[in-house]
Subunit: 229 residues, 2 copies
């Protein structure tokens, strides 16, 4: 058994593996095998996509049978680097920072909160999700002592770049940014951004489309010249 998978995994696949992992982890213990079609249904995607995604990890399925759940969970976890926890540091103890620190999903899924920092003296010392808020001056010490490589930016927009600079300076190489700001970081630092208002705006776009079902289905240049809408 067990090929050497050493293939490059497409980014789109990487983005779906955590979802497969979550679903597989939540399955009943008495289900020991699962087919690509079952997993696809649970994940809301196409079965061919599931098979192709899993094929990048190696040949871990059995034709006519499906995938052994426990083994697949192990392989996906290994591929995602979840063989050990990744402690994270949260910068900003405002509403969002507090919600994130309290979010059980982080620690449950391998990302314990190693620290929370803020500049506001009123917040420093308070305990959120079992972690005491420290002054931002302690960020670098915290990152080094706890071997943190992932930082979460949950500051107001105006402080986000400073937060990122501090994180990078302390040695963090991945940042999850919740501030509505484009961060400049060295090329070797990964950034992912979650902008809550952007998500709503995308939904709003489709909402609006919904309510204008009127004209123009045609793609041809000629007919698209209609004068008014």
């Amino acid at each position: 058994m067990s090929d050497r998978p050493r293939r490059r995994i497409p980014e789109a696949t990487v983005e779906r593996l955590p979802e497969y992992l979550r679903i597989l982890s939540e399955l009943d213990d008495d289900l020991d095998h699962i087919s690509s079609e079952q997993l696809a249904d649970l994940a809301g995607v196409n079965a061919a996509k599931v098979r192709k995604d899993l094929s990048y990890l190696g040949s871990y399925g059995t034709r006519g049978v499906g995938y052994e759940v426990a083994y697949l969970v192990f392989q996906v976890r290994r591929e995602l680097g979840l063989t050990h926890d990744w402690p994270v540091i949260i910068v900003g103890a405002g509403n969002l920072g507090q919600a994130l620190a309290n979010y059980a999903g982080f620690v449950d899924r391998g990302f314990p909160v190693a620290g929370i920092v803020d500049v506001d003296p009123a917040k420093i010392g308070s305990v959120i999700g079992g972690v005491r808020v420290r002054h931002v001056d302690e960020l670098a010490t915290l990152v080094r002592s706890r071997k943190v490589s992932i930082g979460v930016v949950a500051t107001p927009p105006g402080a986000a770049q400073d937060a990122a600079d501090l994180l990078v300076g302390a040695g963090v190489t991945s940042i999850l940014n919740f501030a509505p700001t484009v961060l400049s970081v060295p090329r070797d630092v990964s950034v992912r951004k979650v902008d809550l208002a952007v998500e709503l705006q995308i939904l709003g776009f489709h909402e609006q489309r919904r309510s204008v079902p009127s004209l123009s289905i045609v793609l041809d240049a000629d007919s698209s010249r209609t004068a008014s809408a």
Copy 2:
């Protein structure tokens, strides 16, 4: 001037327009024109991409000059359906629901919180971000009276599907889901999902890649075993 754009806008473009809009809205008032290259730099993307994206809205630039900021803002807002506000309802007044209700970015960018509901009697009646938490039984009434078409699911995972069913039943046609759960909804309802732990797992994958240039499995046996505070 001013063509009728009536083209189908690619989804990838729709997902970037809100970011362009945010950047354009934050520009200095004395900057009245911007080139695709300047906007691209600010957004962290390629200039050709900016031009192609904006070309789907129509020909709103001037060769040799760039795009008039105010006019472009207007056109992007119109395309995104931001000519009016879209009130949203939040289901779940836990840590995340509270943070979202307090998040100024929602109302600032066109998505005022029309209501927050929960099942917990201890939370009902409290005021968050200027909005009083109501019982979930009032959801449908609220959706109808305030003409809400976008719902935000911020419940624990076990309650997310029920929340979605209630929202859909009340007439909501777009859902932003923060629960780590795949929602089943009718085909004509749009769902976008934000899974905070998934974002960290994707970063973790790249982190791990970084530290495994070839085939050394354990190089930090000591550090990965630490669990102390």
